[in-house]
């Protein structure tokens, strides 16, 4: 189908964008990559009075990588972040997760920040932000505010971004030395949203025993489910962890729902299996960093 009519705005500066968004209030929608908004419009599941296309706003496409992490601007496309060597070096989980987001052609337009604001519980990037304890920077006529991931995702397809606010960037923190990450998921077809998926981050101590282990699970709740599994994993080297116990612990932590794609039980089972795979890979990546 075709989108319903709306007033189209294409601000040329950030100030102009914030003006239009303030004026539009709840009837306004930001258009970034359009890879989620336009399907919703085409299916007539959304009918905003005004669409504020931020694609021409200068200065929003930055990818700044440094020792503390990666700041991704609102217009940085999935593909650009995926390809950025600086981003991959500072936070390897970004590239690991982005390869699982849709197809390369969708990633050429879709933005990382758009994915966060869209807050699909099956999406990868919200889980990455939640796992790393990152934050989203929101701008409005009242100024800027930085919202931590734990408060940013408020429900399925709901984020803390208010009418009149533009998410200008997101920050993905780096991990301490001797850390590794991984993302594993199962989807019905390549490029589909995941039936279940797990992002993991593991940090090793001086004796290469697991000193911190966290997972973030997608598609098993209204928002990404973050769990600290350090107590079940450590302080032991990865080779002597009781992985069955870890899978059981993760299964107990999630409360998935069944739908046409998978039953709740199957999702729970998958989440346990994927958590172990992701944690083991993250631990070997942390080892790799050591050598």
């Amino acid at each position: 189908m075709k989108p319903p009519p709306f007033d189209y705005h294409r601000p040329a500066t950030l100030g102009e964008a914030l003006d239009v968004l303030a004026e539009a209030g709840p009837g306004g929608k930001v258009l970034a990559g359009g890879q989620s908004l336009i399907p919703l419009l085409n299916m007539r599941l959304a009918a905003p009075a005004r669409v504020v296309d931020v694609n021409r706003v200068p200065g929003l496409d930055g990818i700044e990588a440094g020792p503390s992490g990666v700041r991704v601007g609102a217009l940085a496309r999935h593909a650009a972040v995926e390809r950025s060597p600086g981003a991959a070096a500072a936070q390897p989980l970004l590239r690991q997760a982005l390869r699982l987001v849709a197809h390369p052609v969708i990633r050429n337009r879709g933005t990382v920040v758009g994915s966060l604001v869209h807050a699909d519980p099956a999406a990868e990037m919200p889980a990455v932000l939640a796992l790393l304890g990152g934050a989203v920077r929101l701008a409005s006529l009242d100024g800027e505010r930085e919202v931590p991931a734990a408060e940013f995702f408020t429900g399925p397809m709901e984020s803390a971004a208010r009418p009149g606010e533009l998410a200008v960037s997101a920050f993905f923190p780096a991990l301490p030395a001797r850390s590794g990450t991984a993302f594993h998921e199962v989807a019905r077809r390549h490029g589909d949203y995941a039936v279940a998926g797990v992002a993991a981050a593991v940090t090793l101590d001086d004796d290469l025993r697991i000193s911190a282990a966290r997972v973030a699970c997608v598609s098993v709740g209204p928002v990404p489910v973050v769990a600290d599994v350090t107590a079940v994993c450590g302080p032991r080297p990865a080779a002597s962890v009781a992985w069955d116990a870890v899978a059981a612990a993760v299964r107990d932590l999630v409360e998935p729902e069944g739908d046409i794609h998978a039953t709740a039980d199957y999702r729970r089972h998958l989440t346990g299996v994927l958590a172990v795979r992701a944690l083991r890979d993250a631990a070997s990546a942390a080892h790799g960093e050591e050598s």
Partner: protein, 173 residues
Amino acid sequence: MNETHHRVTLTVNGVVREATVPGRRLLSDCLRHDLGLTGTHVGCEHGVCGACTVLLDGEPVRSCLTFAVTVDGQEITTVEGLAQGGALSPVQRAFTECHALQCGFCTPGFLCTVTAFLRDNPAPSEEEALEAVAGNLCRCTGYQNILKAVHRAAEIQAAEIQAAELQAEEGGA
């Protein structure tokens, strides 16, 4: 409702084209209805099938998930722009040779996707070729011949580049 229209200028297949469209006009519809370029096909209009894939400043994108106004001033290549001087492009020839199309509905999207892919990765592995076309659906071929065509196109392209280099050398000598 009296919709506001916007004037857009697109360079399509090297030709500057103008259209007056409402904000909600999809690039796919702008190409097909406003500019009469019906080579770009529309299957699903929600990003899943890939039939509408065109090149935007050289990069493949879904034209059904792009508004024409958003890309005002940019360059678009559609399937109509792939042949050079009346001769089918290496990717088009490979699709013909390998029987990589039957009804042809999905073909424009595959051709645009594969053209950009082989430009960036002229000698892909099996795995990479598979990943490259995984975002395009085909209801006829069963994909095997499409994959063969990707590799065949890479061969044709490499041979052409080599021939061109040889000719340049001979010309220089």
